[in-house]
């Protein structure tokens, strides 16, 4: 029995199968490599693309729910931020899930659990900087053995037999490699602040593992763990190479760290997904910034390879080329997502390109063989700030083409203007802050003003970890971005950090201090105000968008607001009688999926759906025009990126959802039965 998804009409407590499928029992009998999704990004080029068209503009609105999988029991408590993208290989769907970051293998046709693996890491897991279900896992096979490889919250790499879920005895130590070892530094095995959300990436017999840390707005210390990147033998778990993203003495880039700041500075990891060109044997690494997201006074210099795209040899780990996107970053513009590979043609010239989406809403496009920009990237002077001790880079790289896919910087013209009164209030609000174009430096926060920099894109984007999708048939790249300001101010607080400045906002000097806490790590900066005007967003819409960019021409083809207008806008008394086009919604990290004809993405955040129920829509757009061609309701927003697969002649679409008051669930749709008689793919 199948039916379309109607929120709250289906049981919510089921652990595994909600709706049975007539395909049960056929797992493994029908194999189509083309129908699989065997690596996080759909392929090693991170394109998130499949040329299926059984789900199309004619039937999207009639999608059936094949099965649903609730993740509550996969850990000591439910998870509300389910970010994994599953894999599907040989009729089995694999995903990480739950607060324990368990691995489950599910029958891809029915959702029945085939096996589950969990690691109870005790205090090591509790102290992890990157907890919860993570972004996913990796699959490896030599044609005989099949393995699932993932990284636990406590930063251990585990290899599992894909058929049984048992640890592979010959890999590392009884199936486990301790990633806090062999990292060319001493890291406390329990409390050392390094971990990973991202899925490992595997090509041939090489597994590559990144490194992530806590957010760095208020680091405890300028001394920090370094986020080196390593390659491992997929068969044995033996370390093959290590790349010092923060170069040591004598290595390329070390001279960009003045005053020996490389010795104690940390971070510079790769917490995003990585990408591989198997033909070239090259790995592309999007690197984050060094310790201190908004203050770099303890790390003078441009600080390679911070916020750089780095290409290395996959087998040896040796650097091929690099390009620093932000010099001496003080805006937390970590490169957040996988670079995407495309073979483009620009002015008649064929180029093997790599495209890097960013928080700052630029697509940086390079020749992936040489590292040369496809279109000019110009070094332009940028203003210096006034934070004592800060070292300001005199110039920053500016992309000249393609145009940015979202707002960069803030001016009065960007503020809400639904009515003159709202605009006036917004102007008054921002007068207490510093605003300016991209690369405006954060100020020292004073209560009188400026209290901080209103930064757009915020430190979470623009775009963030889901990144984009690429259609290799047209070389059009699709990406969701959002428009949401953050406030960055610099304050001092020796009780919390040995950094001279950390992120925060000055308190009202006449207000009493916060009550003492049980431990000395009191807040002290007074928190930030909500940047809203009568409860409405400070900035003009669109709040969330999907943009299509033609990479052969370097031009935006279309752009649409993604997400229905928020309830608070639709129902706001100050906007009564106004006709406001769909605004899109912000606040989520939304991945897109491209198929033969569609771009598919769920909405971020909740709203009141046409049925009157609380939830979010999964939407499909004509990939050529951006016209919406269908939508189906979901009980919660998309929080992991969608993927698709073909099984037994039928196209499936898996969407991880969760959100405020709704714990993680994998919802798997499939093409309506009628579609299978008209499409044989």
């Amino acid at each position: 029995m199948l039916r379309t998804l109607r929120p709250f009409t289906l049981p919510l407590l089921s652990l595994a199968v909600v709706l049975a499928s007539t395909d049960a029992g056929l797992v493994g009998q029908v194999r189509s490599r083309d129908g699989e999704w065997s690596t996080y990004g759909g392929d090693l080029a991170s394109r998130r693309y499949r040329p299926f068209d059984q789900i199309n503009r004619d039937n999207f609105k009639d999608l059936e729910v094949a099965w649903r999988f609730k993740t509550d029991a996969l850990g000591p408590r439910p998870e509300f931020n389910f970010q994994s993208t599953p894999l599907m290989v040989n009729g089995v769907l694999y995903t990480t899930a739950g607060t324990r970051r368990a691995v489950v293998a599910l029958d891809a046709a029915t959702g029945e659990m085939l096996w589950m693996h969990r690691e109870d890491e005790g205090k090591r897991g509790e102290a992890a900087p990157r907890k919860l279900s993570g972004r996913g896992l990796a699959y490896w096979t030599d044609g005989r053995e099949e393995r699932i490889v993932y990284v636990t919250p406590g930063y251990q790499m585990v290899a599992l037999d894909a058929k049984t879920g048992r640890k592979v005895a010959g890999f590392g130590r009884q199936g486990v490699v301790d990633l806090k070892l062999e990292m060319d530094q001493t890291i406390d095995l329990e409390t050392g602040e390094v971990g990973l959300h991202a899925a490992p990436i595997i090509s041939g017999n090489v597994i590559v593992v990144g490194a992530a840390h806590l957010p760095g707005g208020v680091p405890r210390s300028r001394n920090h763990e370094k986020g080196y990147i390593r390659g491992y033998d997929a068969r044995t778990g033996k370390r093959l190479w290590i790349f010092h993203t923060l170069p040591q003495k004598g290595e390329v880039g070390n001279d960009t760290w003045l005053q020996d700041s490389w010795t104690y500075t940390g971070n510079v990891g790769v917490w995003a997904q990585m990408t591989i060109d198997e033909e070239l044997g090259m790995l592309y690494m999007p690197v984050e910034l060094p310790t201190g997201d908004y203050y770099g006074g303890h790390r003078p210099g441009n600080g390679l390879f911070g916020e750089s795209l780095v290409a290395i040899d996959l087998k040896t780990g040796r650097r091929k080329w690099h390009y620093q996107l932000v010099h001496h970053g003080i805006w937390d513009f970590d490169i957040p997502c996988a670079p995407i590979l495309a073979d483009i043609t620009v002015n008649g010239r064929a180029i093997k390109a790599v495209i890097q989406p960013t928080k700052q809403s630029w697509l940086y496009v390079f020749d992936r063989v040489t590292g040369q920009p496809v279109w000019p990237i110009e070094e332009r002077p940028v203003p210096k700030g006034d934070v004592p001790g800060e070292w300001y880079a005199p110039t920053q790289p500016f992309v000249t083409k393609p145009a940015p896919y979202d707002l960069q910087g803030v001016s009065i013209d960007d503020l809400i203007d639904f009515t003159p009164e709202l605009r006036a209030e917004a102007v008054t609000l921002v007068s207490r802050y510093k605003i300016g174009p991209l690369f405006t430096p954060p100020p020292v926060s004073t209560f009188e003003g400026p209290r901080g920099l209103i930064m757009v894109p915020s430190s979470t984007g623009g775009a963030n970890w889901p990144g984009g999708s690429l259609d290799p048939e047209t070389n059009i790249l699709y990406i969701y971005s959002f428009r949401q300001p953050s406030i960055i101010g610099m304050i001092t607080d020796p009780s919390r950090s040995d950094m001279n400045f950390i992120n925060g906002q000055a308190r009202d000097p006449n207000a009493p201090p916060p009550a003492p806490a049980a431990a000395p790590a009191a807040a002290g900066e007074g928190g930030g105000p909500a940047l809203t005007v009568q409860g409405l967003p400070l900035l003009k819409p669109p709040y969330g968008s999907i943009t299509a960019t033609d990479l052969n021409r370097g031009e935006i083809v279309w752009q649409v607001a993604h997400g229905e207008t928020p309830d608070a806008v639709r129902n706001h008394p100050a906007l009564k009688g106004l006709s406001i086009p769909r605004t899109g919604r912000a606040g989520g990290r939304i991945g897109t999926l491209v198929t033969k004809t569609l771009v598919i993405a769920g909405e971020p955040g909740f709203f009141t759906m046409p049925s009157g129920q609380r939830g979010a829509m999964l939407r499909a757009y004509d990939k050529a025009t951006g016209a919406e061609v269908g939508a189906v309701p979901m009980p919660a927003p998309q929080t992991g990126s969608p993927m698709t697969y073909m099984l037994n002649g039928r196209q499936y679409l898996a969407v991880p959802i969760s959100g405020a008051g709704y714990s993680g669930e994998l919802v798997v749709f499939r093409a309506p039965q009628a579609a299978t008689t008209t499409s044989s793919r």
């Binding site: 408590r77 439910p78 509300f80 931020n81 607060t99 509790e126 992890a128 900087p129 990157r130 907890k131 919860l132 959300h197 806590l214 957010p215 208020v218 915020s458 979470t460 949401q484 953050s486 406030i487 919390r496 950390i502 992120n503 925060g504 906002q505 009493p512 916060p514 009550a515 003492p516 806490a517 790590a521 009191a522 807040a523 002290g524 900066e525 007074g526 928190g527 930030g528 105000p529 909500a530 809203t532 409860g535 409405l536 967003p537 709040y543 928020p566 309830d567 608070a568 129902n571 706001h572 919604r585 912000a586 606040g587 989520g588 955040g605 909740f606 009141t608 609380r614 405020a660 008051g661």
Partner: protein, 142 residues
């Protein structure tokens, strides 16, 4: 069937009677449901237990969502402080939800309300979950 209907009627009657007896009007976060002193306590606790992931200004980071602002309001709009408390009670802080007491979590909610520019009042936000469930989170002033 008749028996089920009778039980349902009894349930409705009990709920109505409880509401009348408690004398509680429906309230929202706009009705001064926490005190400034409580938010002050919550501020210190937030810095200690929450800021590392959710950011010093409650605006979120890669690994954790914002706890203030328009999008947070949109996500929780129409739910209750009981729902919000339950979410925090069962899952936060993510390393060990048990290390922050129920009272402390309510104080942190009070701080979130202050940052969200909801007015303070003269009575503290109660620790009692059924009472929290009677307070609606409304993103915009009714």
């Amino acid at each position: 069937m008749v028996r089920i209907f009778a039980i349902a009627c009894l349930g409705v009657w009990v709920a109505a009677a409880t509401a009348v007896l408690s004398g509680q009007e429906p309230r929202s976060v706009w009705d001064g449901v926490y005190t400034a002193e409580q938010a002050k306590r919550g501020e210190a606790l937030y810095g200690q237990h929450c800021a590392a992931c959710h950011g010093a200004t409650l605006l979120g980071a890669e690994a954790a969502p914002a706890l203030t602002g328009f999008e947070f309001g949109g996500n929780w709009n129409g739910l209750t402080l009981g729902d919000l408390y339950e979410r925090i009670r069962t899952s936060m802080p993510s390393d060990d939800p048990g290390k922050v007491t129920g009272q402390q979590k309510v104080d942190i909610i009070a701080y979130m309300l202050r940052v969200g520019a909801f007015p303070a009042g003269t009575t503290e936000l109660p620790r009692d979950q059924p009472l929290l469930t009677q307070i609606k989170y409304l993103a915009t002033k009714p």
